[in-house]
């Protein structure tokens, strides 16, 4: 255990870079997936191409994608940009489907009511459909977050420093404790992401947790799932 205390600073540093490598692509990926998913619902003919195409990207194994990135980006093999872009691709691949499902979870009557109140298509999407889609969207985001944290550790095989370093280094040195630190660190980080998204979802959907005693259950129709 003393090893852990002695290396606490390093572990913290690796945890931060791990969180960045997994977290930044999550945010960028969400920003890309939202308009793509909206377009897929807006133009149903394009939906199979958008959803299926992004799904195909997810089938590419992570180690292969990391290695192929320099070929696409023209970067050097050890550039961190490879990992950021690859993780963003995976995030988009997972989230486009989630966005489509999430927007689909908005009750049609609600969307029609918004139109009747004078919302244009874009305004309706942003002000009415997007907030109501948050629960389904958040569950997709949680899957992507846990997936990202795990995939990022694979990058240690190529030599990007993050918590995965303890896995490869521990294996090479036959040092179980170090592997344990890597695994526990990854799991804790995944839990932290999960928790953050849950809290964010709760803050963004106050109606889903409204005090139901006062007026019976006024918001049931709004709870997307």
């Amino acid at each position: 255990m003393t090893w852990v205390w002695e290396h606490l600073g390093d572990i913290g540093g690796y945890a931060v870079s791990h969180a960045l490598l997994a977290g930044i692509p999550l945010i960028v990926g969400l920003a890309i997936a939202l308009p793509l998913g909206w377009l897929a619902r807006r133009f149903p003919r394009a939906a199979p191409v958008v959803v299926g195409g992004s799904g195909l990207l997810y089938t590419i194994p992570s180690l292969a994608l990391f290695i192929l990135m320099p070929l696409v980006l023209g970067s050097r093999i050890l550039d961190a940009i490879n990992v950021y872009v690859a993780m963003t691709i995976y995030t988009v691949a997972l989230l486009v489907r989630s966005v489509v499902d999430a927007l689909g979870s908005v009750p049609e009557s609600t969307a029609l009511a918004a139109t009747a109140m004078g919302y244009r298509r874009l305004g309706r999407a942003l002000a009415v459909e997007l907030p109501l889609a948050v629960p389904v969207l958040a569950s997709g985001l949680r899957v992507a977050a846990v997936s990202n944290v795990s995939i990022v550790s694979v990058a240690s095989l190529i030599g990007y420093p993050q918590l995965g370093y303890y896995l490869t280094d521990g294996y090479q040195r036959s040092f179980p404790l170090e592997i344990g630190v890597g695994i526990v660190g990854c799991v804790l980080l995944a839990l932290l992401f999960d928790l953050t998204i849950r809290v964010g979802e709760r803050l963004l959907t106050p109606w889903a947790h409204a005090d139901t005693r006062r007026e019976g259950r006024p918001s049931e129709g709004l709870v997307a799932r």
């Binding site: 194994p61 979870s105 095989l157």
Partner: protein, 269 residues
């Protein structure tokens, strides 16, 4: 760079011998198939049982939670503990296969379980009402109705296994991952990228085949029924040979797995 990769891919020595692409490909497919069969033998009966009886849900939930463990960590941990305890030349193979089986179980389990659970209760009641026994209902009604989700689980597990088998080259397993790891060790980018292209092509090809199989196996009656809101989205109608019945609740959509199961099932590597 692309020229070098092409030269590597087309060099004659790459296509013969025990280090050639055909051998590596067969190794990769062999390990993956073995692991999937073992995992399916464990997980699918268990998932069907838990979906049918409603018991053992804790196992399914637990298996899903275990997905947060990074596959690379699991691989190294098992290789370190199991490897030295096996003296034969299987010492490199068994730990990897154990890990591949462990990683394939959660998607298979939750696919089978949620597949059976998602069967319309009215359909199940009708089957019992017709005098079917529990096992008959499971085999003749619940299993066919569970196929879309079950097969999504199989696809997710397959991708997971193919991807992790690639990484398992780091603990000395054969297969296409060798090119990635060996190329890295000697700083030979052409070999790494060539191997990576092969791995990507393999994953895409296998997934495409499974998607076709899924389209053939799933009853057309399941693919065009009006369905719940999240299925209503006009999503994902690639593959599938049956004429769409259109018009039913935007019914172009096939019966889709809940998001958590299709692409999402494969959450690691």
């Amino acid at each position: 760079m692309i020229i070098q990769i092409w030269q590597w891919l087309t060099a004659p020595e790459q296509w013969t011998g025990s280090r050639g692409i055909p051998t590596r490909l067969l190794e990769h497919l062999g390990f993956s198939a073995l692991s999937l069969v073992l995992a399916a033998a464990i997980a699918i009966p268990l998932g069907l049982w838990s979906g049918h009886t409603g018991r053992g849900r804790a196992v399914v939930t637990g298996a899903n939670a275990a997905r947060a463990v990074p596959s690379l960590g699991l691989l190294f941990a098992v290789a370190m503990f199991v490897g030295p305890r096996i003296s034969s030349n299987l010492a490199f193979v068994i730990p990897s296969v154990v890990v591949l089986v462990l990683l394939a179980i959660p998607p298979l389990l939750s696919g089978a379980d949620s597949g059976v659970r998602s069967v319309d209760p009215a359909v199940r009641d009708a089957a019992y009402g017709m005098g079917m026994t529990g096992p008959e209902v499971l085999r003749q009604v619940e299993l066919p109705c569970a196929l879309p989700l079950l097969l999504s689980g199989v696809r997710a597990a397959t991708l997971q296994v193919i991807a992790t088998a690639t990484i398992a080259a780091a603990v000395s397993l054969g297969g296409l991952g060798r090119y990635l790891i060996d190329g890295l060790a000697v700083n030979d980018y052409a070999q790494m990228a060539g191997g990576a292209l092969l791995v990507a092509a393999l994953a895409l090809g296998v997934d495409g085949l499974l998607a076709l199989t899924q389209g053939l196996l799933v009853s057309p009656g399941l693919t065009s029924r009006p369905s719940r809101p999240w299925r209503r989205s006009p999503s994902h109608s690639r593959h599938g040979k049956f004429p769409r019945s259109g018009g039913v609740a935007g019914g172009r959509g096939r019966v889709l797995a809940p998001a958590a199961l299709t692409t999402h099932g494969r959450d690691l590597t």
